[in-house]
Symmetry: C2
Subunit: 214 residues, 2 copies
DNA sequence: ACTTGCATGTTACTTGCGGTAACACGAGTG
DNA sequence: CACTCGTGTTACCGCAAGTAACATGCAAGT
């Protein structure tokens, strides 16, 4: 009985929290990452202090929001990586999944990429790269794990896999960011070009005539 | 005569500007990218409005500051890319140059990466990826140019080169960021691993036993 | 029934930063 | 001597993060 009641309270709190997150989501989607706490509270039909009671500070809210989207995106990516197909196809599917996601919701994507914020007052510590972009870090780690599980890389494989994981994710991210801004080609072409890069076409390409002497 | 006086005045203004930039540099180096205009002005021994007269707004100051460092780093990178050596060595030298730079001055590097800012008031437009990270964009474009000049990539080479330029830069950046935070290996090992990735070892590696059926 | 406790909600405030207006001094020029 | 122009100041506005103090509704304890 009291259990049900307790869970009832907790459920209510959780539901509130989800509603707040969804409101925040809408505002961020509309106004971008610099959305103010006031705006988010207004969207949720309440006032600021409640947000602070639920999430501590702006960073907390953003972290919670980021976690939702990050989890969702990572699920999609896992599905693509785990698809039953050969390696090249899986790589292309993964790239395409990521690019489709950022194409569909640029605002969300942009929000996920720079929880820069930095505590506005106090906070001198700084610690480069520590809290930078959780999404990129998580993607890198997950990809590293997949690589290490699936590929036979000989000695030092774990470290190599991690470097590659973060490197590939960074490649995907930077290329996607640039592509989203300039739209120089179709998504399929971009995917193909990146996969070609990963497949060693850079090393295999011939020099152009008039390459530097020596 | 008046010419000398004019140039004298301009020189004086330019010197002031450089002094202000150096002061800003020290503050950013010490406090990170969220350094306040007040702090910078204090470091320079003056007050805020002068900064605004010289740089317009915070974005202007940051842009000027970023340009200095970006130009310097790009010069180093160009030297590495243009070294008289075979392709693999040049690629490794370029990676190493970049990584050495971010290793030497993490604060500066971190500052260069997120001029996120976003106009604090007004400004709904948003335009994803437009003003994101000038340094990454510039590096990507420059590398694309080098690739397109040097390599024979067949039809569509220009677009391919640009994708690769931004992709490689992103790979370097993300791997460097992660490496700087965790220091899981030496710089040389990181360089070697990344070059291996670019050389197609991902595609060449064998499957591990117990890979998913189908 | 009355009080206690707790979550939820409010208004009103403080602090700090980006940015600006208005004023003040010093030097060269008719 | 008046004029203006560059350099500097103080004092202010607006806005957003974050907090304190107060109000209310609802379950439980006696």
């Amino acid at each position: 009985m009291d259990t049900t009641q307790r869970t009832e309270q907790q459920r209510s709190a959780d539901r509130r929290r989800r509603e707040l997150l969804e409101a925040a989501d809408r505002v961020v989607l509309r106004e971008g990452p610099q959305a103010s706490m006031n705006a988010i509270a207004a969207e949720a039909g309440i006032t600021k202090p409640i947000l602070y009671r639920h999430f501590g500070d702006k960073g907390g809210l953003y972290a919670a929001l980021a976690k939702r989207h990050t989890d969702a995106l990572l699920d999609s990516l896992r599905a693509a990586v785990d698809a039953p197909a050969d390696r090249r196809e899986r790589v292309e599917a993964t790239l395409d999944t990521y690019l489709a996601a950022i194409e569909a919701r640029p605002q969300v994507y942009r929000f996920l990429m720079h929880p820069a914020e930095g505590a506005p007052t106090g906070d001198q510590g700084f610690d480069v790269g520590k809290q930078w972009a959780p999404l990129l870090r998580r993607m890198g780690e997950e990809l590293a794990q997949v690589i290490e599980e699936r590929l036979d890389l000989g000695p030092g494989s774990q470290q190599l896999a991690r470097v590659w994981g973060h490197g590939i994710v960074g490649m995907m991210h930077a290329a996607g960011d640039w592509w989203l801004g300039e739209r120089p080609c179709s998504r399929a072409e971009l995917v193909r070009s990146l996969a070609d890069l990963l497949w060693g076409r850079l090393a295999a390409a011939g020099d152009k005539v008039g390459s530097p002497g020596f």
